[in-house]
Amino acid sequence: MDQRKCECGHTNPVGTLLCESCGKPLVIQISEQTAFPDMRYEGMARRSQTYTKKMVDRVWNYFSSVKIAIGIIIVILIASAVGTVFPQQQYIPVPVPTEADVARFYTNTYGTLGTIYYQLGFHNLYSSWWFVTLLVMLGTSLVICSLDRVVPLYKALKKPRLNQHKSFLKGQKLFAEGELAQGTDQAELLAGSAETLRKKGYRIFQTDRALMAEKGRFSRWGPYVNHIGLILFLVGVLARSIPGFFLDEYVWVREGETVAIPNTPYYIKNLQYTTEYWSEDEMPVKLELNGGVIAKNYQTDAILYENKNADLPGAKPDLVEIKNGPIIVNHPMVHESLYLYQSGMQEMQLGALNFNLIDLKNGSKEVGKIKVDLYNPAQEQVVADGIKVKVLDYFPDFIMGKDGKPATKTNLPKNPMVAIEVLDEKGKLSEKMVYLQGSILTQKSDPTYGIEIKMPDLIDISGINVRMDKAVPLIYFGSFIFMIGVAMGFFWQHRRIWVQIQDGTIMMAAHTNKNWFGLRREVDGLVEQMKLPVTIEEKSKA
């Protein structure tokens, strides 16, 4: 029972709607009613619909259904929309270090709805197991739907439908029929028609009394080509999870500092950071900015190094310069598959404190300069001949501790407190003083040395985002194939025109998958030019 015989003698696989050879509808009910099978798959048997006994076949059939595919698309669509109702966790505008903070954020800002949103896991919707499963299901459906249809379609289109059964022609949306006048030269009529159509760019298939003209068959492959593109795209997305394919790191680099980029053998040095603003004469029109400014450029001049001693993290690096240049928004620094993006900045941060050491007993004469690097304070510095300054204590972000002793809130120099000792070897003097919040406290009531606060060194800190994504070429390639596929499918049409002569009657039929008006115009043109004695009937499908 695997095959079905048509009256023309051809045997077709089970499930075939239109005989592969003569085009006659095979199911009796169909051929007697007006409903003619859809021409989408040329009436071929789709494999999936014929065997349903095994488990494998059932799963296969499930994913082979376009109805299911559309269902998956709609579910993904709705889920995606739900994910934009409140921000995803990654877009929360305030810092949320722990899971409890995340939960609190949704409850406090969005009330009960926010709590529900959080509890349902919608704050991480796009990476949730069920959303990922939906995407894979879509991929599965893409693969199986395509495989299941492209093979029979290929078989059908490989063999042009020439000399078809009358019911096939009659079933087409565009059909015409007419009696030929006595003594018409049938061969000449067909040859003339063939010539007219050939001029319009058709490929002609012909027998002595039948003709089939075809154009743009390749557009039928469009859907399959674009589905292949999508599958490649999804494979690319999946490939990003392969270890070593994807990297996303963020480093803050101070001007003058060289830091390691985590999980890579690279180091980056920030030579200089600059922000530029548009000047008024650069603006095309005068703007009411109320004293505001518009940024023109964020740029870090950087050097990228490779550490030849990267096997042991933390060990003294052996750096080799690889690249030197600017990192600008929209213009990352690129090294092989590594991309460095200008992505944040903290300008005018305290870098070092500057003081003048003065001799109070000697008319406040300047003795020398003291610099306290807030990121790496020197234990001891020689200020003048025989005079040294020692840093005794350093709290980068001063706070009074619970025990009444000074402490630090963070390890960043936001509010530095420095205790120093001035050692004068000649005068055998030792005086201690403390700098805090722009003022100096001295230990002695009548000190010899005093300190004058000078302008501190201010530095900029660049936030550099370092990324690597080796799957991107595949993702772009998939997108490219997809575009080729949709262009093939949507910008061209598969048109076929049949002309057949049978017992003194001429029959014409035409089919296209798109743009019936264009086809109609071509058929009208043919009828007019060849003066074919036919009346065209066009069925409405709407």
């Binding site: 109805k67 995606s80 929309a81 921000p87 450029n297 990352p332 991107v472 008006f517």
Partner: protein, 409 residues
């Protein structure tokens, strides 16, 4: 700068021409049954005039695009005003393309008013040319935004044809689900009109309501400042945690929820509420005047058109617009995102909504091509699709804050 001035004039001229063209189109369709006229000839004559007016308007708008591009130093797609005006330009362009294929100018009777609404909508936003901030300084700004707008413009023509199909075919003798939903769609269009009316009326009056936020926020220079929110429309909604420092024509009825981010959120909500209210009033007024459904009012003017042709045009526009939209709004967007941020996709709300539009039209195409959804079902889908695009453009831009939000109303 003179070029900018010129571009403003050209856009005004284009706007005026589109308005006249819309009126002539309406005349061409409604006037065909006037006494003593040959309906076919009347329609043809006025249709041609309207079409020509649209073409001249399009040329003027092309002039605007070029002048503003040169004068501003970048493609006019960098803020909400420029984008909406450009989208309008694309809608008219798509109409002209579809006209070349089908030579059916009556589509313009729906597309041109849509164009007028879109252009009027753009006028509501601040018009000045601003220099580009660093994140927008990329040639992908031109490529991505123009292609996406072109795709959306073509899809808009698909919507116009779909809507025409529905008005042409939905039976108006009895009230059905279809007639009700059709009225909803028309009411939504009227809400857009209402928004434009309200905004342009109140902008000319000196009756602003100004609120000051109680919580100071850091400004560009890092100093703490109390931000002010200025309402042009009478205040229905006050921003959360704020005080009125300049009273307007009415006192706010309620306060916006505190999670609505940013100083402008409440003002946007206020604007939206007014648009809905005016839209409903406009709709109610029209119903009172005509004493029948608006669909029934419009139906006689489209009864000469072949429904199959409208169906085909709608589908054709979508099948051309879909690839262009995919290329512009998704693929080019991904390439730019990869170049600017190092990730081609980040589930940012605007990205997600572009994906939603794409998924929706994918479903449309599968339903049409594979499950035989043609005619009414397909037309409804084309209408819903455009509504989703509008949501992406209006609601997501104005309400959900994200990386893409342009400043503005």
């Amino acid at each position: 700068m003179q070029l900018i001035q010129l571009s403003d004039w050209l856009l005004d001229i284009a706007f005026l021409l589109y308005v006249i063209s819309s009126i002539v189109f309406v005349v061409s369709m409604t006037g065909k049954n006037w006494a003593g006229r040959d309906p076919k000839q009347h329609e043809k004559r006025f249709g041609t005039i309207a079409y020509r007016l649209a073409v001249i308007g399009f040329i003027a708008q092309t002039g605007y695009v070029i002048a503003r591009w040169i004068g501003g130093g970048h493609s006019p797609t960098s803020n909400m005003f420029e984008f909406m005006a450009f989208l309008d330009y694309c809608i008219i362009l798509a109409y002209l393309i579809i006209y070349r294929i089908y030579k059916l100018n009556v589509i313009g009777a729906f597309v041109l008013p849509l164009g007028v609404i879109m252009l009027a909508y753009s006028y509501v936003f601040p018009k000045e040319v601003t220099p580009l901030i660093p994140s927008l300084q990329s040639y992908w700004l031109h490529i991505h935004v123009t292609t996406a707008a072109l795709g959306e413009g073509i899809l808009a023509v698909g919507f116009a044809a779909g809507l025409m199909y529905l008005i042409r075919t939905v039976p108006q003798q009895v009230s059905t689900k279809s007639t009700k939903w059709l009225e909803v769609v028309l009411a939504v269009v009227l809400m857009l009109v209402g928004f434009i009316l309200m905004e342009s009326t109140f902008a000319r009056m000196d009756q602003k309501t100004v609120f000051e936020m109680n919580q100071p926020q850091p400004n560009v220079f890092g100093q703490m400042e109390k931000v002010k929110a200025e309402y042009t429309m009478p205040a229905l909604v006050a921003p959360a945690d704020s005080t009125i420092i300049q009273a307007g024509p009415m006192s706010p009825l309620f306060t916006a929820p505190s999670w609505m981010e940013g100083k402008d959120a409440a003002r946007k909500l206020n604007t939206m509420l007014w648009s809905v209210i005016t839209g409903v009033i406009l709709y109610g007024g029209l119903r009172l005047i005509f004493r029948k459904r608006l669909g029934a009012v419009i139906q006689p003017s489209v009864d000469g058109i072949e429904p199959d042709l409208l169906d085909e045009i709608s589908y054709r526009a979508i099948s051309i617009g879909y690839p262009v939209f995919t290329l512009g709004a998704l693929i080019f967007a991904m390439i730019w995102a990869q170049e600017a941020w190092g990730r081609f996709w980040g589930w940012d709300p605007k990205e997600v909504w572009a994906l939603i539009v794409w998924l929706f039209y994918s479903a449309y195409l599968h339903l049409r091509l594979s499950r035989g959804w043609i005619g009414a079902k397909s037309a409804w889908m084309s209408v819903i699709g455009f509504v989703i695009i509008l949501i992406t453009l209006v609601v997501v831009n104005l309400v959900i804050a994200g990386l893409h939000s342009y400043a503005g109303v």
